[in-house]
């Protein structure tokens, strides 16, 4: 799960991680008050779940509370397009007003899981403000990597080695060592999947702060972080995906015309791939789960059909322990109830598959049965193209 910058900073402050003082606002009037409170000279930052906001015009300096109000007015309600939002952009609903600081250095500090070694890894680079993938591609040696034992936490020597790698001395060095320890604690204790401070700011006064903060969280751990789960912003997600999640359906909207309903994540991805190979474009990823009950199939139909680009649907179920006739009954009853405005190709596999196919055939519904994935993919692509 992603959160906004202002929420990430709020969480980080709970762990003593220094951030600039800031107030999140939803109107120009609030922005003016916030700027006054913060000393007049502030940065106005659009809050959306995407990076590259600066280049897109979503981060601006205001020299006075009036200018802060003016900038906030222009940002609220604007559709911010960055290289991470796609061409459709994101609507700005909240703005963070933050005190402007005297920048000496902009550095990079990030923590994420290294899957290869099964440990969190601290990444530090003196090239703050740039995306870490870009730095890694250009000069991998510019990134200092410290694997951290999640049970023991950051050891002082590791924090020092990061601060040295960032080229810090004196007061800033000490403050950075302290920052690293606190950030790591925040990462582990909030069950974060990513904590990225880019840039990590060193001020002319020698303070070290999180000028920007991006945090993603492990969805599987949200059950023990009700406060973080409450930070979910549904505006930032596709409405169909939000709707699907209510029914326990794993749905991701894509741009094609062939809707897919599949059991199992791997088979669902494989189904998208084979549709593409057959000359079509998948309209979505959808994992209905192991059961594929009539109720789930019905919900899945409704979600897929809400996407007006969908011209045909492929149902690909490897029955496994669930019997093919049961699944067929589910598909038929869901189809009857929902009505089928587009052709539906069904590929069933598993126990009692012949019986299942007979049930589909006898239903009188415009269901096209298929043998195997390739046959199914060809049939559904032909149907989607009106052939």
């Amino acid at each position: 799960m992603k959160v906004h910058e202002y929420q990430a900073k709020e969480l980080l402050r709970r762990y003593g991680v220094p951030t600039p003082r800031g107030i999140v606002v939803e109107s120009p009037e609030e922005a003016r008050n916030a700027a006054t409170e913060l000393g007049g000279r502030v940065v106005v930052k659009a809050q959306i779940h995407a990076g590259g906001r600066g280049k897109g015009g979503g981060v601006k300096l205001a020299k006075s509370p009036d200018e802060a109000a003016e900038l906030t007015k222009s940002m609220l309600g604007m559709t911010l397009v960055t290289h991470q939002t796609g061409p459709e952009g994101r609507l700005v609903r909240k703005v963070l007003i933050e005190e402007a600081l005297n920048i000496d250095k902009e550095l990079y500090l990030g923590i994420t899981l290294d899957r290869r070694i099964g440990m969190p890894v601290l990444m530090a680079s003196s090239q703050g403000g740039m995306e870490i993938e870009e730095v890694a591609a250009r000069d991998p040696h510019a990134i200092r990597r410290e694997p951290i034992d999640a049970v023991l936490g950051v050891q002082p020597f590791q924090a020092r080695s990061v601060a040295y790698a960032l080229g810090l001395t004196g007061d800033a060095f000490k403050k950075c060592v302290d920052f690293v320890g606190k950030l790591m604690r925040a990462y582990v204790e909030t069950d974060a999947a990513l904590a990225e401070i880019n840039p990590l700011l060193v001020t002319k006064e020698g303070d070290v702060l999180a000028l920007d903060a991006k945090m993603n969280f492990d969805d599987n751990a949200l059950f023990r972080h009700k406060d973080i789960a409450a930070m979910r912003d549904l505006h930032e997600e596709d409405p169909l995906e939000v709707e699907a999640s209510k029914f326990g359906l794993n749905y991701i909207k894509l741009d094609g015309t062939v809707g897919c309903m599949v059991n199992g994540a791997g088979l669902a991805m494989g189904t998208m791939d084979i549709i593409k190979l057959a000359g079509g474009e998948p309209a979505n990823f959808l994992d209905v789960g192991g059961g594929a009950s009539a109720e789930q199939v019905k919900n899945a139909f409704r979600i897929i059909l809400s996407d007006k680009n969908v011209k045909a649907i492929l149902i690909n179920i490897f029955g496994g322990i669930m019997r093919g006739d049961r699944i067929a009954e589910g598909v038929v009853s869901a189809s009857r109830e929902i009505g089928l405005p587009v052709p539906v190709v069904v590929r069933l596999e598993g126990t009692n598959v012949e019986l299942g196919k007979q049930i589909l055939k006898d239903s009188g519904l415009p269901l096209i049965t298929a043998d195997g994935m390739w046959d199914a993919a060809q049939k559904v692509v032909a149907a989607a193209q009106g052939r």
């Binding site: 899981l113 899957r115 290869r116 099964g118 440990m119 969190p120 870490i132 993938e133 890694a136 034992d149 999640a150 049970v151 582990v188 069950d191 999947a193 492990d218 969805d219 599987n220 751990a221 059950f223 023990r224 794993n250 991701i252 894509l254 599949v262 059991n263 199992g264 994540a265 791997g266 088979l267 669902a268 991805m269 494989g270 189904t271 998208m272 791939d273 084979i274 549709i275 593409k276 190979l277 998948p282 990823f285 994992d287 192991g290 490897f318 029955g319 496994g320 322990i321 596999e349 598993g350 126990t351 195997g372 994935m373 390739w374 993919a377």
Partner: protein
């Protein structure tokens, strides 16, 4: 022969009194697997569907002679269940549970590593974790330890290793319908930190005399397939056929499995397919081609030609 699971494997089910645990304990027993009991804390001393229930894994090992655990414990408690089995010295731990927090698995792996080091130093056998978020392990005709449909399998010479459950069934189905059986099929699971990885399985299949060719099924995210490619190039002489799911997956989105995500441009299907191809592995683009390609390359080997005759 097979790898890791056979007719002598003695299985207990952790979480046996739950809905999933009950259903699958019975399914495994019906297949012929030696299910020697189950563990549910607080229900020790009772019986459930004919299974003896114990309070602890240690007790199950001592009284029922278990050497393998199949875990259906809910996500918040699953890592603890894994560690309990390792502590009790079970050789094989199969965790079906989906949705375990990554941090819990980081700790469980750390525990397993230390526990195994201690056991090996004392001359005892280490524990192997398979999963989590996996269908389990299947040695046709001998042991079904997991949630896969038993009836689609048949005995034979092909080893299968996969990050996806239903794609494993797909591969098994394609082989069985061609009359080609499987030595062992291992679902290593869709999580970012699997207990057993491709390399572990490939090494075991290479060493297993009953395995003549291998299908490996990967997906987007991480670098396990690239690591496996390098391993195959250096160590595996048996033919390997591979499919990578997610060739059309958008970047930055988690495709159902916690581990299936292209992040920062890393972990794409194209990269993985290129690495596998460069290692001499037969990569198929369509999941429907796994069985046919395997048959083709296996028939090209001496034993395969004989097997098909």
């Amino acid at each position: 022969m097979a790898i890791w699971a056979d007719k002598n494997t003695r299985v207990i089910v952790q979480g046996i009194t739950g809905r999933e645990g009950t259903f699958h304990a019975i399914q495994c027993r019906d297949y012929g697997t030696q299910v020697v009991g189950g563990v549910t804390p607080g229900k020790g001393g009772t019986t459930h569907e004919g299974f003896d229930v114990f309070n602890t894994v240690r007790e199950a090992r001592e009284k029922a002679g278990a050497n393998c655990s199949l875990i259906f414990v809910p996500p918040p408690f699953a890592a603890d269940a894994i560690m309990e089995s390792a502590d009790a010295g079970l050789e094989l731990i199969i965790c079906i549970t989906e949705g375990i927090p990554v941090n819990d698995m980081v700790k469980a792996h750390d525990f397993l590593k230390k526990n195994n080091a201690r056991r090996v130093a004392e001359g005892r056998s280490p524990s192997r974790l398979i999963g989590p978020n996996c269908p389990g392990i299947m040695t046709p005709g001998q042991a079904k330890i997991g949630i896969m449909p038993g009836h689609i399998h048949r005995e034979g010479p092909i080893g299968i290793v996969s990050r996806s459950g239903t794609l494993t069934y797909e591969a098994v189905g394609q082989l069985s319908s061609r009359g080609i059986g499987q030595s062992t099929a291992v679902g290593i699971g869709g999580d970012p930190l699997p207990g057993t990885n491709f390399i572990d399985c490939l090494a075991a299949f290479q060493a297993d005399p009953a395995t003549e060719a291998i299908i490996m099924i990967g997906e987007i995210g991480g670098s396990a397939e690239e690591d496996a490619a390098a391993f195959v190039k250096a160590n595996v002489t048996k033919p390997v056929v591979a499919f990578i799911a997610g060739q059309t997956a958008p970047p930055g989105r988690r495709m159902g499995h916690a581990g299936a995500i292209i992040s920062g441009g890393q972990g794409t299907a194209a990269e993985k397919m290129a690495a596998l191809t460069a290692a001499g592995i037969h990569v198929v683009k369509a999941p429907s081609d796994m069985g046919a390609k395997l048959e083709e390359v296996w028939a090209g080997t001496a034993r395969g030609a004989k097997g098909r005759a």
